[in-house]
Amino acid sequence: MNLAATPVRRQIHPPPVPASPFPYNPGSLLSAADLDLEGLSRILLRATELENEDPLVRARILAKRRVALLFYESSTRTRTSFELAAKGLGTDTTLISSLSSSIEKGESLKDTGLTLKALGAEAIILRSNSSGAPWLLEAETRLPVLNGGDGMHEHPTQALLDLRTMLTHLRPGLTTLAADTLAGVTVTICGDIQHSRVARSNMLLLPRLGAKVVLCGPRELLPEIAATAGPGISVERDLDAALRQSQVVMMLRIQAERLAGLQLDLEQYKTGYQLTGQRLAAHASESIVMHPGPIIRGLEITAGVADGPQSAILEQVKNGVAIRMAVVERALTAGKENGGRA
C-alpha cells in the first residue's frame, strides 16, 4: 500500500488577496514600484530642470512650505541631500531625529507623525529602521510621505538617483523613458543583498526599463529566493562571471548592524566579493562602478576602485540632490489641479 498516496486534488478557489490601498496620498513615494514610466520620466526631467534653475527662482517654488525630516536612523547622504533639496525649493524644513526628540521617551511613530502634521508639516521624509514604517506613517497621517529608507525594504529615491547616474553614462541626452530604455544593459548588485533596501528598490525599478539585474553575493547575504522578487532578476555567486556581463556594477557594504548574530569570515568574503582594480580591469574594464555609501574602503571595494576613473560614486551623491528636489516638489504639488507636476 502506498502510504504517501496524495488525496484527490480538488478545485480550490480561495478568497482573493485585496488590492493595496497605498499610496493614499498622490504625492507619496513609498516604493520604487509606485511610479509608472511616465511618472519616472517626469521626475528625471524635473530633476534636470530644477538643477539648472537659478537658485533664487528655485527658492520661490515652494517658499515657506513645511517639510519634516523624520530620521530614526543615522544618515549622511540621504538626510543632507533631502534637506538641501527641500531648502533649495524654499521650504522650511525641520529635522527630528530619534536621539533628540520624544521618540526617545517612547512616542510612537503614529503619534510623532500626527504631532508633525499638527505643527503644519505638509510632507514627511522618513528614514526608519523598520521595514514598512512609511506605510504606517502614511496611513495614519495621510500626508505625502517620502520613503528615505525603511529597514531592509526599500530606498526609492536612491534607486532614482542611481537610475539618473546610469542614464547619464549609458543613455546621454535621453528625455523620455520607455520599457526598453535599458535593454541590453546588465546591472550587477553585489554584496549584502539580504539586508539592503538599495538592492530591493533597484531590482524593482531597473527591469521595468528593460535592464537585467544580476545579484551577487554569498548565500548568507543573498538567499536564492531573491531571484523570485520580480522579473529580470537572477542570482550569480561568482563575481567575476557577473562582472563579465555587466555594464554597471553596484557594490554594497555589509550591514553589520543588521546581521543579527550572523558570523561572516571577512577575509573569505573579500577574496570572493571585493571589487579590486585587478578584478575590474580583467572583467569589466568599461563598466561604471557605483556604491550607495557608506563605503567601507578595503572591505567590499578597494580605495583605488572607489577613487578610480570608472567610479561614479560621487556623481551618485550629487544626483541625489537633484532627484530629491523633484521628489519633494512632487510631494507638495501632486494631485493639485493644474499645479500638479507629478
Binding site: L3, P7, R9, R10, I12, H13, P14, P15, V17, P18, S20, P21, F22, S108, L109, K110, S128, S130, S131, G132, A133, W135, L136, E140, D150, G151, M152, H153, E154, Q194, R197, R200, P223, I225, A226, T228, A229, G230, A260
Partner: protein, 434 residues
C-alpha cells in the same frame, strides 16, 4: 429555571447522527426532549423560540482562545471574550494560559472560573504545562485538573527540551489530559515576523521558516511513539504548514493519538495578505504560502484535521498601530469562525454542513473531554446555536463584542447568521433583527 422550546428548526447533531426537522425542549440547563415537529407543547412559563428556516445545532466549541484575564483586561476580559464567543455561536471556549500571571496554578484556574468574571458561556481553562510556561519544570497536572483545567499547554511558547516534553506527555497521560503544543522551534524563528519566503524577502522582513513548525511536530510525534503504551495524547495547535500536517497524517496512520486543529485564517489566507504591512495579518504561526493554505483545505476536507479553532488573540488598537516588526502576534476570531467556515468550507468547497459543524463542536468537545457538550442528545447540556444557514452578512469589526478589533476579516462576507446562542439553557446571545 425557565424552560425553552425551540420549534420548527432543522436539527443537525453530527455526534448523534441527526439531520432532520425536530423540536427541542430545554429544561434546567439540559436537553429535556427531542421530538418530531409539533409534538412538543409549551407548558406555562416555557419560552418558545421560532426556529423556522433555521438550523439548530450543538453550541460551538473553540478549543483555542486567549481571553487575556488575568492581567490584560485592556485587550479582553473573560466577560467581553465570552460575549464575542456567544455572538459567534460558541458556548464553550478553552482559554490558553499565557495570561499575566501565567495560569500555572489551581488558584488562577479557579479565579478564571469564578462567577465574578461574568462569563456568558462556559470557559474551560487550559493550564500551563510548565511553571511560568518557561519549559523547565512541570506543573502538578492532577491539581490543575481537579481545579478545572481541561488540557495543558505552554501556548505561545513551545516546550523545546526533549526530556521536558517527554515528561509532560507522560505526566499528562497519567491524569488523562492532552498536551497541546504550539509547534515552533523558536531557535529558528528569532526576529522573524512573517513566513519565510519570497514575500518576506520582498518586504524586507525576517522570516519564520515552515520547518520551525514541522520540526517540533515531528519531534513530538517521535516522543508520542516512545510513549505509545502510556497512551499519550498530543494535540498540535494552529497547524499551518503542509509538512506538519503530513506528519500528523502519518502518525494517525500509525495509530498514535495525535490530533490537530486549524484556524480559519490558515485555511483562508496566505502570506500575500500581509500586503502592505497589515499588522492584522500578523500572527504566530504566520500566514503561510498558498501551497500550505491549500494543504489546510485538503486536510480539512479529508478529515485529517480534528477541529477548527480560532486562536482568538485580541490586542488593543494602539498595539497593532505600530511598525510591522513591533506589532504583537494575533487576531480575533470568535465572531467570524462560523461565518467563514460556512461561506468557504461549506458553500465554496462543498463540505457537508454536518461535517463543518462537527469540526466546530462535536470534535473539539471530544478532544477536550467535555462530557455532555458538542451534542444535543437528551440529557446533554443545553448548549445550542441557532442560525440562518442562508443568511449572508458582512462582518463589521466596529460592531464586535470583543474589546479588540484586530481582525483581517473586517468587511468580509459571511454565511450563516447566528440568531440565538444558548448556554446551559440561558440565552447568551440573540439577534432578532437578522
Amino acid at each position: 429555571m425557565t424552560a425553552l422550546l425551540i420549534r420548527g428548526g432543522h436539527l443537525i447533531d453530527p455526534a448523534a447522527g441527526i439531520d432532520a426537522p425536530k423540536d427541542i425542549l430545554l429544561k434546567d440547563g439540559k436537553v429535556s426532549e427531542i421530538a418530531a415537529p409539533g409534538k412538543l407543547k409549551p407548558v406555562n412559563g416555557t419560552e418558545v423560540l421560532d426556529a423556522k428556516g433555521l438550523v439548530v445545532a450543538p453550541g460551538l466549541v473553540d478549543m483555542h482562545v486567549h481571553l487575556r484575564e488575568p492581567g490584560q483586561g485592556y485587550k479582553e476580559t473573560i466577560a467581553t471574550g465570552t460575549a464575542a464567543a456567544a455572538a459567534g455561536g460558541f458556548t464553550a471556549v478553552a482559554a490558553m494560559p499565557n495570561t499575566k500571571p501565567v495560569n500555572d496554578s489551581a488558584e488562577t484556574t479557579r479565579w478564571m472560573l469564578s462567577p465574578d468574571r461574568g462569563a456568558v458561556v462556559r470557559v474551560f481553562p487550559i493550564a500551563a504545562a510548565t511553571r511560568g510556561s518557561k519549559g523547565e519544570a512541570i506543573n502538578d497536572f492532577a491539581a490543575l485538573k481537579s481545579a478545572g483545567a481541561v488540557a495543558v499547554s505552554d501556548d505561545g511558547l513551545p516546550i523545546l527540551k526533549d526530556n521536558i516534553m517527554r515528561e509532560t506527555l507522560a505526566a499528562a497521560a497519567r491524569v488523562g489530559l492532552s498536551v497541546i503544543q504550539h509547534a515552533e522551534d523558536t531557535r529558528m524563528t528569532q526576529g522573524g515576523s512573517m513566513n519565510a519566503g519570497a514575500m518576506a524577502f520582498k518586504l524586507g522582513l525576517r522570516g519564520m521558516p515552515a520547518e520551525a513548525e514541522s520540526a517540533i511536530v515531528e519531534r513530538d510525534i517521535r516522543l508520542v511513539t516512545e510513549l505509545r503504551d502510556a497512551r499519550a495524547h498530543l494535540h498540535v495547535a494552529h497547524t499551518s504548514t503542509a509538512a506538519a500536517l503530513a506528519a500528523v497524517r502519518q502518525a494517525r496512520r500509525n495509530g498514535l493519538r495525535v490530533t490537530c486543529e486549524v484556524a480559519p485564517h490558515h485555511f483562508l489566507l496566505t502570506e500575500e495578505h500581509v500586503g502592505s504591512y497589515n499588522t492584522h495579518a500578523k500572527m504566530c504561526p504566520p500566514l503561510r504560502s498558498a501551497a500550505d493554505r491549500d494543504a489546510m483545505i485538503e486536510a480539512i476536507l479529508d478529515g485529517v484535521v480534528d477541529a477548527i479553532a480560532t486562536d482568538h488573540a485580541p490586542h488593543a488598537a494602539h498595539e497593532k498601530e505600530v511598525e510591522f516588526e513591533n506589532a504583537p502576534n494575533g487576531i480575533t476570531g470568535l465572531e467570524t469562525a462560523l461565518g467563514l467556515s460556512l461561506r468557504w468550507l461549506h458553500k465554496e468547497w462543498k463540505m457537508p454542513l454536518g461535517r463543518v459543524l462537527s469540526l466546530l463542536s462535536a470534535q473539539p468537545a471530544a478532544l477536550l473531554g467535555l462530557k455532555g457538550r458538542g451534542t444535543l442528545t437528551v440529557g446533554s447540556f443545553a448548549d445550542v446555536v441557532i442560525f440562518d444557514p442562508k443568511g449572508e452578512w458582512t462582518f463589521n469589526a466596529r460592531e464586535t463584542r470583543s474589546k479588540s478589533r484586530n481582525t483581517p476579516f473586517d468587511g468580509w462576507t459571511m454565511l450563516g447568521k447566528v440568531r440565538w446562542t444558548i448556554s446551559e439553557g440561558r440565552i447568551a446571545f440573540k439577534n432578532e433583527t437578522a
